[in-house]
């Protein structure tokens, strides 16, 4: 039994984002300018019609500005009555004359206000909503909502059960894509709905005590490969995003259906559950055209997308719920420890590339099969970092959850001439020849063994000067342990007498952007039968090794994280390597020498350090 849930969300925006700048300059005095309102409401009405024509129910997220518009309110009430649409609230679309009168600010992003202002705005928006509709919303959202904001909402309005809480991988890439002017620096969250931790919205909650009390929904269902290495606003279940990315031929966009179908297929990795969301603001369907597309094409793309959902519904392949209904359904049988996993395949560039994504309360990571299963992203959710954003906080706009490994921001396997990049992989060494699995493209398959998810990679061939070995990697993910078991197995060798060293390593750092952070104070430690070693990071290129290793670890106080590796047997050597200022990384490793065939099994763990 599989269930593919769908949330379609619309919002009546009185000043579409594309007119925000005019509004700030007083050129479009929002709710008093009739042509702007008329166009915006027309688009909202059109979106609603297209959904209903395809028998899809929606969640109408009322913007603050729209609460002052009788027509917008009337449409919402009518569609709620007639179609069963949910009327919710959003913190997008705050800006209007009434808002500026009350808050004396042109700020448009709820997460960037000071905490005091966030509280006042929540009370004002929810108060106005109740005044207009006679009840309080049970769903809300924005492009980002930090845990502190959601905690306040839950404290004051405990019936709220769902929120659009992040945009998946909108961080520095989205910022660059927008000519460094779009401040959604929100990398590091899950790609599908989750129950957030009350400490940090990006992290799935560990248990009921940690549960923030809502189900969080990421804005859009995005291409997990293209968006990891490209603009979030090009590749997702948002037809006009796809037009922005120019992923079409003529006026046809099969890519939209391909994304939907790949999300549907996630049911096979997640015990029958799959999810999709579509949320297009009116500004994306401007009558004057947008992103090199005229209005007819903008409209067609929306109609085609919704028609596909409608067809799936007719075939019994999708269940369209409102946000609050979905939150109830999601919580029904979801254990806190259950990970969200998927083996994503390229549907854009024509390659056979696969990437495996995993998120649970301990970590989020990505394995790249184009690099022999190398880990190219690792976020230590176990640390549950309290990291508020907005004016008056340390980070202000940087709302991303920090990584330990992000191979695109911090080089990965390939560096220019010197140093090391952030990646977790394995090297095979014989007589001075070194081959890294990052250089070995392969494919993977997924299976389950009780509560263990297993990613099995097809064997790869490693060619040394005088012989060849076959190597297979297997990742076993034991639910609720916060550990990854990694087996590197030499399954064949053309020279059974040849000795090969298997060197499992992780080169890591920490940060939220491409730019290096200060590693001073990071501790690197080895513990084994033959001794202990420990250093505090000082960029001095020091190295140490201990035989009969029990554990190698890095304590990274800046992100309150302990990163460790342990082996399955004592006849192995552990080591650490300090970096330098030109290579601001630390490396932990465990290595073992085998003759002919053999294997090295290690476990990687991330924990909260304090």
């Amino acid at each position: 039994m599989t269930t593919f849930y769908l949330n379609v969300i619309h919002r009546p925006e009185m000043v579409p984002e594309y007119l925000q700048k005019d509004a700030e300059e007083g050129k479009a005095e929002d709710v008093t300018r009739s042509d702007v309102i008329r166009e915006s409401l027309d688009i909202f009405r059109t979106q609603q019609r297209v959904a209903h024509d395809n028998d899809i129910r929606t969640t109408i997220q009322m913007t603050y500005a729209s609460l002052f518009n009788e027509e917008a309110v009337a449409i919402a009430k009518e569609d709620h009555e007639k179609y069963g649409d949910e009327i919710g609230s959003t913190f997008l679309g705050l800006q209007c004359a009434q808002f500026r009168e009350k808050f004396a600010s042109k700020e448009l992003a709820i997460w960037l206000f000071s905490m005091a202002d966030k509280r006042r705005i929540v009370d004002e928006v929810f108060g106005k909503f109740e005044e207009v509709f006679g009840f309080l919303p049970t769903s809300t959202g924005s492009y980002y909502m930090d845990a502190e904001l959601v905690n306040y909402i839950k404290d004051r309005y405990p019936h709220v059960k769902a929120a659009v809480a992040t945009c998946w991988e909108e961080g520095p890439k989205a910022y660059h894509n927008a000519n460094n002017s779009w401040y959604t620096l929100l990398d590091g969250g899950p790609w599908n709905p989750w129950i957030p931790s009350r400490r940090n919205i990006h992290c799935p909650a560990s248990d009921a005590d940690d549960d923030i009390g809502i189900v969080a929904i990421p804005h859009l269902s995005r291409d997990l490969m293209a968006v990891f290495d490209g603009p979030g606003s090009y590749y997702g279940t948002h037809p006009q995003n796809i037009l922005r990315g120019m992923v079409y031929e003529g006026r046809e966009i099969p890519y939209f259906m391909n994304i939907v179908d790949q999300y549907r297929a996630m049911a096979k990795y997640n015990r029958g559950y799959a999810y999709n969301m579509m949320f297009v603001g009116p500004g994306w369907m401007s009558k004057s055209g947008r992103w090199e597309a005229d209005y007819d094409f903008l409209l067609k793309s929306y109609e085609d997308g919704m028609a596909y959902y409608g067809r799936l519904k007719k075939e019994g392949k999708v269940v369209d719920l409102t946000m609050s209904e979905f939150a109830d359904a999601y919580r029904q049988d979801r254990a806190y420890s259950q990970p969200e996993v998927t083996l994503w395949k390229d549907i854009l560039y024509g390659s056979k590339r696969q990437q495996f994504w995993f998120a649970d309360p301990s970590m989020r990571f990505c394995l790249d099969m184009n690099q022999g299963g190398a880990m190219i992203d690792l976020r230590p959710y176990a640390a549950k970092l309290i990291r508020p954003c907005g004016v008056g906080t340390k980070h202000i706009q940087d709302a991303s959850y920090p990584f330990l490994v992000q191979s695109l921001f911090r080089a990965g396997y390939f560096t220019h001439y010197a140093g090391e990049g952030a990646v977790k992989s394995c090297k095979f060494v014989h007589a001075g020849e070194v081959v890294d699995l990052c250089a070995c493209r392969t494919q993977a398959s997924f299976s389950e063994d009780g509560d263990t998810r297993v990613v099995t990679l097809d064997p790869v061939e490693i060619e040394f000067e005088n012989f060849t070995i076959g190597v297979q990697s297997i990742f076993r993910l034991m639910e609720g342990t916060g550990e990854i078991e990694i087996t590197r197995k030499i399954v064949s060798s053309t020279d059974p007498t040849a000795e090969v060293s298997i060197d499992e390593y992780i080169t890591a750092c920490y940060g939220t952007t491409e730019y290096p952070e200060d590693l001073t104070g990071v501790q690197l430690k080895l513990k084994g039968r033959s001794g202990k070693e420990s250093i505090d990071y000082e960029y001095r290129c020091r190295e140490a090794a201990v035989d009969g290793i029990d554990s190698v670890e890095a304590i990274v106080p800046q992100v309150d994280t302990r990163l460790s590796m342990r082996p399955d047997a004592g006849d192995v050597t552990g080591y650490f390597r300090e970096g330098m200022a030109f290579s601001p990384m630390y490396t932990l490793g465990i290595k073992k020498t085998v003759q002919g065939t053999g294997e090295l099994r290690t476990w990687l763990k991330v924990e909260k350090a304090s």
Binding site: K173, H176, N177, A178, N179, G230, P231, Y234, R244, M246, V247, Y248, E249, E252, P254, Y255, M257, N258, D261, Q262, R264, A265, G289, R290, W291, E292, A293, D294, K345, D346, I347, L348, Y349, G350
Partner: protein, 69 residues
């Protein structure tokens, strides 16, 4: 020189697009060409469309319906 104005369909600079930067161009009515404030690209609409088509070339599956997952 004439004042640059917003052109139709807010064409982005195709060269900036190649490096995934969305940068709206201005249109010079006198010369009948678009130009970029960031990267020095200039050209008529036909040139914009030609480079845009090049941008799309990387999407080998842009016209392919994929159903095998």
């Amino acid at each position: 020189m004439a004042q640059g104005r917003k052109g139709k369909l807010n064409y982005r600079c195709p060269r900036c697009l190649m490096r995934e930067i969305d940068m709206d161009m201005l249109f010079d009515n006198e010369k009948g060409e678009y130009y970029c404030l960031r990267c020095s690209f200039f050209g008529p609409e036909a040139e914009v469309l030609r480079v845009n088509a090049e941008f799309r070339d990387k999407y080998l599956d842009r016209a392919t319906r994929i159903t095998d997952f």
